[in-house]
Symmetry: C2
Subunit: 187 residues, 2 copies
DNA sequence: ATTAAAATTTTACAAATGATAAATAATGGC
DNA sequence: GCCATTATTTATCATTTGTAAAATTTTAAT
């Protein structure tokens, strides 16, 4: 997906504002399994996904918790770094080879202070992510794991082809064994 | 808590920008149990809490799910209305008598288009809420209900005095019976 | 203070999910 | 294509959490 399209689906920008962003972006590519971001670091870049699939996960002692999948058109940020300049709590791992648009967070912050439309773009970006996260939190509370699995597949039909089941199980908040049970009961 | 203090803790505003907001705000008061917002409606106002405590809850067929508590200094918005102009999924109920600062959402949206600093205030507001929600989603996944209960009390020491246990149980994602079990095991 | 209503706890049992280990299937490197 | 590795499923049993109903405590109104 092209950068301008990615930016516009968050919030349509006038030509000039859009160019301020695109002019600061570099195209980069990484292979499968590359660790794009590590927890505990202040992450200095953010990325828009032109193609490929990634996951965000947090450490939980002995295992890891996948809490986000990103694919074409989505934005990768270490939220704590991006929002508060603090070390992030998430790792970002590439599940497929990816082509990304890279942007220095500092430069974007600078644009927020200069350009009204870009500040509103940043507002819309956070607002949209907030609604998605809040809906997931609520759904976690009143849907069974089986329902959440079915809905996830309905929303992302190609997820099964692109993501390992152990990551999907983690994302759903259940063990891989539980997910196996659910899958066998459906068929 | 005073309005200027509430606004500034999100993002410090220059005098002029701050007055653009405060000039559009009305002080209103409602009694305990008042339903401030209802799911399914497009909500036209947002509120800053000067004093009191509220909860947000969603309907889940036969029961309700409390997913947010708000008290002094926090902001009450119907996220779907505020962000997308769509009917909200949450009810807002007053758990105590409240004094609120009321602001028409439309006027705030107007200010976002006019004032760079206010647009950045709105951005920071969404970003902060996003981090809080994401952390809750993750904590739901790798902490036991007992841990989440203890942490909730540690962060909000007066919650037990102000909120019914059935709402706390719902917020934690467990039944009231489970919460009772947890409470009896702690002592 | 008394009483009715609501909130919370307790009990007993059922259902869902987790942990572990073994079996099977799929994948990637050579 | 073969083998080693990794991913997934299956089976068994333990633990957690839910459901329902009754008992108890708290709250609020008179």
């Amino acid at each position: 997906m092209q950068l301008t399209q990615i930016l516009d689906q968050v919030y349509p920008l006038p030509q000039g504002a859009r160019e301020k962003i695109t002019g600061r972006v570099r195209e980069v590519a990484f292979g499968k399994n590359h660790l794009l971001m590590r927890a505990g670091r202040v992450e200095r870049n953010l990325y828009f996904i032109q193609s490929g699939m990634v996951r965000a996960y947090a450490d939980a002692g002995d295992h890891e918790i996948t809490f986000w999948f990103g694919s074409e058109g989505e934005t990768i940020v270490s939220m704590n770094s991006y929002v508060a300049g603090k070390p992030g709590y998430e790792h970002i791992e590439l599940l497929e080879p990816c082509i990304l648009y890279e942007l220095r967070a500092e430069e974007l912050q600078q644009l927020y202070q200069e350009d009204l439309q870009i500040a509103n773009w940043g507002r819309k970006f956070a607002e949209r992510e907030l609604i998605k996260t809040e809906e997931r939190l609520i759904s976690r509370q009143f849907k069974t794991a089986a329902q959440r699995y079915k809905e996830l597949l309905a929303d992302n039909p190609d997820l099964l082809q692109r993501v390992a089941l152990c990551h999907i199980a983690s994302y759903l908040g259940i063990t891989q064994v539980s997910l196996s049970r659910i899958r066998s009961e459906i068929r």
